[in-house]
């Protein structure tokens, strides 16, 4: 506690110094964000020199609050969710010093948006089966294949990319992990319209895309290990953020309940309160999980948060459509748009209901997550793997 207060005092003086040296009212937004990064106030948990101060992650909200109070702009984190939540921690963990210096700063400021080129039409839950090929050609690699479910691909400068560099070994062993420049002429991004009507995702076709070897993250053949680290971050990002009571979908439905007394029935009330209790317990479970992580008791428990999050989002959004009755029959807009920011709690009830269907699919299906919990937490036997010791090229496709 005493130490926490000392850290907070220190953060206050650093924020003060930044605001004094770089007045946000008279400084260009990007210039201010760059100065903030250089002051170590971008992400507290990153190392010094890379936008952070090597502090526990829990101090960052405090910094954000101080800066917001000082009239400072933020880096619009929702616009670069993949970059901040997945690419950055992966670069930090596996990148060379040169790569960290090149990529992290413009990633954090939002100058360079990132996307993720992992899933393929033939590699969803079985991600290690990716067939996009990278073939070495001197100091670079030539990539051919097709990726799918890529949000922000149309505005991204870079991608994290999982490819097969060796088809002659087993599927997990032949993968490598790269940074892909999305401005390469061989990159073709096409919108993928989903059941909500909009195209939040893309298909990405890669044709003779040249990637310098400097853009490789981790060793050749270590791609699976790097990708696993990225995905763990994704699940923590999706299910593990601190939330206030009635944050997220429950807050939306509770507001409708409060605003529209004429819709209330006893039957809907009991269902609402069941979900209210579950949402509150999920919030406390997240709090407890973060306390465990802070004590260094980590584990695959992030998977459990995502399972709960997906189920509650679906049940709550479904309940709200019913609660709305006649209004639940209407839908705001089926026009194909490419949204800049996706908020699960945004737009109308019908949209939220439909969009929530993706919550139990994206970032690991709930079925795969149950396997992970059963095997890695409970120690139950793994699923039979018929493809484990066979070279990828010999697998039935």
């Amino acid at each position: 506690m005493v130490r926490d207060n000392m850290v907070r005092d220190d953060l206050r003086s650093r924020v003060k110094a930044l605001l004094a040296a770089t007045d946000p009212a008279t400084t260009d937004r990007l210039d201010f964000l760059r100065a903030r990064f250089d002051a170590g106030l971008a992400w507290a948990n990153f190392p010094e020199g890379l936008g952070g101060l090597g502090l526990p992650r829990a101090f960052q909200p405090y910094v954000d609050q101080l800066l917001e109070a000082g009239g400072a702009p933020d880096n619009n984190p929702l616009r670069n969710g993949i970059g901040l939540g997945m690419a950055a921690p992966t670069i930090l963990a596996f990148g060379t010093d040169e790569q960290k210096q090149r990529f992290l700063k413009p990633l954090w400021t939002g100058e360079e948006v990132w996307c993720q080129l992992f899933s393929e039409p033939g590699a969803g839950s079985d991600l290690a089966a990716v067939s996009t090929r990278a073939v070495r050609d001197g100091d670079s690699w030539v990539v051919n294949g097709q990726k799918v479910w890529t949000s922000a691909a149309h505005k991204a400068r870079f991608a994290i990319l999982l490819v097969r560099t060796d088809p002659n070994v087993s599927k997990h062993a032949g993968l490598s992990y790269f940074v892909c420049d999305m401005t390469d002429p061989g990159v073709d991004v096409r919108p993928l319209r989903q059941l909500t009507g909009e195209a939040e995702f893309n298909e990405v076709f890669l044709t003779d895309v040249r990637i310098p070897d400097f853009y490789r993250l981790g060793e050749e053949g270590q791609g699976w290990k790097v990708a696993t680290a990225t995905l763990m971050n994704e699940r923590v990002a999706i299910g593990g953020a601190a939330a206030p009571r009635e944050g997220g979908m429950i807050g939306v439905v509770a507001k409708t309940w409060r605003d529209r007394p004429e819709l209330r029935t006893a039957e809907l009330h009991d269902r609402l309160m069941m979900l209210w209790v579950e949402a509150e317990v999920a919030r406390l479970t997240g709090q407890r999980l973060r306390q465990k992580l802070a004590l260094g008791q980590p584990g695959p428990e992030g998977s459990t948060m995502k399972l709960t999050f997906a189920r509650l989002a679906q049940q709550l959004s479904g309940l709200e459509v019913e609660l709305l009755g006649e209004d639940g029959l209407r839908y705001s807009d089926w026009t194909m748009v490419r949204p800049d920011i996706v908020e699960f709690t945004g737009r109308d009830a019908g949209y939220r209901y439909l969009r929530a269907k993706g919550n139990s699919i994206e970032g690991g299906t709930s079925e795969i997550l149950r396997n992970i919990v059963a095997e890695r937490v409970l120690g139950l036997p793994a699923e039979p793997r018929t493809d484990k010791d066979i070279a990828w090229k010999d697998l039935p496709k």
């Binding site: 506690m1 926490d4 829990a58 101090f59 909200p61 405090y62 954000d64 609050q65 917001e68 601190a242 939330a243 206030p244 009571r245 009635e246 944050g247 509770a254 309940w257 409060r258 007394p261 004429e262 209330r264 006893a266 009330h269 009991d270 609402l272 309160m273 069941m274 209210w276 209790v277 579950e278 509150e280 317990v281 999920a282 406390l284 479970t285 709090q287 407890r288 973060r290 306390q291 465990k292 004590l295 428990e301 459990t304 399972l307 709960t308 079925e367 997550l369 149950r370 396997n371 919990v373 059963a374 095997e375 937490v377 409970l378 120690g379 139950l380 036997p381 793994a382 699923e383």
Partner: protein
């Protein structure tokens, strides 16, 4: 709202266990492992109450658990609801047939609001055991007294489905008077008190119906504080029962997983079939969540946090259902053996099902929560 709560991340209530709580758990666990075996617990269903008395003496006197919630200057250990909750987790894990929650939590909490420090001291020392005379199903919001003082000041009335009364020397009786609810103390073996054992769904916590036919009593709280004493006691009962339910659920999960790793059919461990793995993964998520709910209820109660009533209702609404689900899954996933008298799964099922009704059902707590958080069932 967002900034407020994220900022409080750094000084939020601890939902894990302190070292003191861990070592308390260990001593309770060791004692129960040695003494509270399923073979001895199940004997309660055939009328054998031998285990009860000796075990409670060891827990209350030797380990000093009876006085946990009593302040040191009133003869107790001066611990908090957090420690009592850890004890209840272990008692749940062993379906221990002891009157800890009835005497050391509920009756003691009611008595703490009065000035009968002699009885309180005896309770804390394990020299006597008490029970609050209300139906086990009563909650802080539903409770209504059914006993009155007659013209001679003697107690008249009947209270059904009381827990802990069969173990109690002292009965604490909420008495309805013109001025409000008074809390009275009577000797369980005194004249005009009839304690009738009831064949109960959960015989490890057997009910009694109690008739008062002119029993002499002593008032331990005045009318102004009697109602609050009873309701606070029931509130804490609900908050901490969640930890017992967590213990029940945890046992069911642990034993089901280990059984299914061992049990083979079709040449494979049954726990390797995905239909089973997914059910166990779901159950694990529920038990972990119950952990958070139960710890939050205990932590807010310990701190007299303004959130404690909400936390108690959240914990009951959630944990009571998880305990039942875990026990039902335990029976089902054990297959035939889970249906036998020999396997202890049924002890947990019966305890979990009875606990679902104790201190208010999940549905009753949800209704109350709706009021507490501004989500009422009917237009305001």
């Amino acid at each position: 709202m967002t900034s407020e709560s994220t900022n409080s991340d750094l000084d939020e209530l601890n939902l894990l266990y302190t070292d003191v709580e861990d070592s308390l758990r260990e001593s309770v666990h060791d004692l129960l492992t040695a003494r509270c075996t399923p073979e001895r617990v199940v004997a309660a269903y055939d009328g054998d109450r031998d285990l009860q008395l000796g075990l409670w003496r060891s827990l209350s006197v030797d380990l000093g658990l009876a006085g946990l919630l009593v302040p040191q200057d009133r003869g107790g250990a001066g611990a908090t609801a957090r420690e009592a909750a850890v004890v209840l987790e272990e008692l749940g894990r062993f379906v221990a047939p002891v009157p800890f929650i009835t005497s050391a939590v509920v009756a003691t909490t009611a008595l703490l609001q009065g000035d009968d420090d002699e009885t309180l001291g005896q309770l804390a020392a394990g020299g006597c055991t008490a029970a609050l005379v209300v139906p086990f199903s009563a909650s802080a919001t539903s409770f209504r007294p059914t006993v009155r003082a007659d013209d001679d000041g003697k107690l008249q009335g009947r209270v059904t489905s009381v827990v802990g009364a069969l173990d109690a020397d002292v009965l604490l009786v909420p008495v309805s008077t013109d001025a409000g609810v008074e809390l009275h103390k009577v000797a369980a073996s005194g004249a005009g008190v009839g304690v009738e054992p009831v064949v109960s769904l959960d015989m490890t916590r057997q009910l009694a119906d109690i008739d008062f036919t002119g029993a002499r009593s002593t008032q331990v709280t005045v009318a102004e504080s009697g109602d609050a004493a009873v309701r606070d006691a029931l509130e804490l009962g609900a908050a901490l029962l969640a930890s017992e339910q967590l213990g029940v659920a945890q046992w069911c999960l642990d034993h089901t997983v280990s059984y299914l790793l061992d049990r083979k059919q079709f040449g494979r461990p049954v726990g390797g079939f995905q239909a089973i793995k997914h059910r166990l993964a779901d159950l694990y998520v529920m038990v972990e969540s119950a952990h958070a709910a139960a710890r939050y209820a205990a932590a807010t109660a310990a701190d007299h946090d303004p959130d404690r009533r909400l936390a108690a209702s959240v914990a009951q609404a959630y944990c009571s259902e998880v305990a039942v689900k875990a026990a039902e899954e335990c029976v089902q996933l054990h297959g035939g053996i889970g249906m036998t008298w020999e396997h202890p799964a049924h002890l947990y099922l019966k305890r979990a099902k009875a606990d679902q009704i104790a201190f208010g059902t999940a549905g009753a707590h949800r209704l109350r929560l709706g009021e507490l958080v501004g989500l009422p069932v009917v237009p305001a």
